[in-house]
Amino acid sequence: MSTKTTTMVHDVSEKSGRAIPTRTPRSRRVRMTLVRLTFILPLVLYLLIFYGYPLFYSIQISLEKYDLQAEITGVAAFAGLSNYIADFQDPTFKIAALHTLLFTVLSIVPQFLIGLALALFFSRRFPLSRLLRALFILPWLLPLIVSGTIWKWLFNESNGLIDQVLSSMHLVPAHFSWLTTPGWAFASLIFVNIWLGIPFNMVILYSGLQTIPQEFYEAAAIDGSSRWQAFRYITIPMLEPVIGIVLMLGFIYTIKVFDIIYVLTQGGPANDTQTFATWSYTLSFGQQLFGQGAAQANMILLISLVVALFYLRWSRRSAESLI
């Protein structure tokens, strides 16, 4: 509803904005355009300096033999694609690729499903629902390192709560080290990441649900449709664009997750939780192989771009199918 009014207002303003220059002389029009450009000039410069240049630099050093020596001397030899090839041939690459894929999919799907269930639940207005919904966002606002630290303590093997509860139920041996046992470390990490992503999914899907006109459900109820039918044939199709956005953003956020892995497991034990993001960091700052690290980081960006392009194609198609 609100977006509709916004676009309408915008249309009007565009029309009137177009009407003005035709009446003003050419020199004044040029001057006006120049003045108007000063509004975006800081942004353009900022983007060039803080996004454009680093990105260019990242691509450049990924094509160079940029190591510790090059960092000191400032001279690096052109190396073609050898950094990318070195990454591909490294045995860690396969492991990190698999982990990145599993981590992303196994995080996004539960995050989304739980977020949707909660959004539906909170859409039923009941006493305290507003307050509870507000509280729900808190984990999302906490610094990631804070959340990571809390979970590190919860998973702690000597006296962490998870260990205490589960071992008292005899489900795991006492002092089970979740974060250093292969397999369990990765599972724990995904568990934490799902917890982190639920608020975001819930908030976006909740606001998506609010845009579905109530009349649709009323009409469906008159026609005698069941709750499931209403969900299947009204909620899901109407929510489709929002679902697309949530999943795409979820993918872009998750593929670059670094902080939480770094604080909980540092990619270990023995690469068992290594993803592209953590491995890229290790290459650059652990092994001083800045060229290889940059190459790996660029690959993450490339994957995100490809997914975003697919999303754009899909969203255009789904928007067309709505009309």
Binding site: T3, T6, V9, S13, E14, S16, G17, R18, M32, V35, F39, I40, L43, L47, F50, Y51, Y53, P54, L55, S58, E71, F121, F122, F126, L128, S129, L132, A134, I137, L138, P139, L141, P143, L144, I145, V146, S147, T149, I150, L154, S158, N159, Q164, V165, V203, I204, V242, I245, K256, F258, D259, A277, S280, Y281, F285, F290, A294, A297, I300, L301
Partner: protein
């Protein structure tokens, strides 16, 4: 009878809602509860769900060492928020109301910029900052942390500007006000909520930063709080009550901002995702 059943159902929903929210927030509760425990109690098995003897000992222990890190983070976050607002607000206005040829291109670039992983930017940023002597400096961290927020701030502010009728701005020109004059005197006061939203998010993004703190400070002269927690649990791995106290200190701004600006935060979160 029917009303009665409905009343029971809503009450059931409230109870279920409280239970779910408690489960979700349990780690946050655990952080708070354990930050008031004595070290002795932290080693008891099981650690009590509610501290039996509330103590401020952990806070007293960490306070002095953490204060400089909190001040650093506060300075950096406020700085980054200011950079974001100063750069984003005029640009967002221009992208909303001026029919410039670059509008679509710039919006697209901003969307792409938001996708760039911080890890991708961190390596070149480190090497570039190294050349310009910006490593281990507050200014360097402010600039780096502002990258979290600028694209987001522009997109969110643009949505706010779009909701202001352009006629209002044009009316100002009649009085002979220039573009910038109209912007400051007429438009800006109308989008204060938008500026607050953008500022709150920019602050929170910078406050939560870890990667830039980790990569751009090579000695320990400037250490944001997130890095300080990380160092702390590495050094004193047995004193989890103290670690939780540091974590609580690092969470205070998020809690305060959530209480003060809950409406803005929810709206910003949604607008950032849906309109962007």
């Amino acid at each position: 009878m029917l009303l009665n059943r409905k009343a029971i159902r809503t009450r059931g929903a409230t109870i279920l809602g409280i239970v779910i929210t408690f489960l979700m927030l349990f780690p946050v509760y655990w952080m708070l509860a354990n930050s008031f425990e004595t070290t002795q109690e932290m080693f008891s098995n099981p650690v009590p769900l509610v501290p039996t003897q509330v103590t401020f000992e952990p806070y007293l222990t960490v306070w002095q060492a953490q204060l400089p890190h909190l001040i650093t983070t506060l300075t950096v976050s406020i700085g980054a928020a200011c950079v974001a607002i100063v750069i984003a607000t005029p640009a967002a206005y221009a992208l909303a109301h001026f029919r410039l040829r670059v509008t679509i291109l710039l919006v697209f670039v901003l969307l792409l910029a938001q996708m760039i992983p911080t890890v991708t930017l961190a390596t070149p940023m480190f090497l570039i900052f190294n050349q310009f002597g910006l490593l281990n400096s507050t200014l360097g961290l402010i600039l780096a942390d502002s990258t979290y927020a600028v694209p987001f701030a522009v997109l969110i502010l643009r949505a706010f500007f779009l909701s202001i009728p352009y006629e209002l701005v044009q009316a100002a020109f009649v009085d002979g006000t220039g573009e910038w004059g109209a912007f400051f005197r007429i438009v800006l006061p109308l989008v204060v909520p938008g500026v607050i939203t953008a500022g709150v998010f920019a602050f929170l993004f910078a406050w939560g930063d870890f990667i830039y703190g980790l990569t751009l400070s090579t000695n320990n002269t400037i250490q944001p709080i997130s890095l300080s927690i990380y160092t702390y649990i590495g050094q004193f791995s047995d004193y989890w009550n103290n670690a939780m106290a540091v974590a609580v200190l690092a969470s205070i701004p998020a809690a305060i901002l959530l209480v003060l600006f809950q409406r803005y935060i929810t709206a910003g979160l949604t607008a950032g995702a849906l309109k962007g």
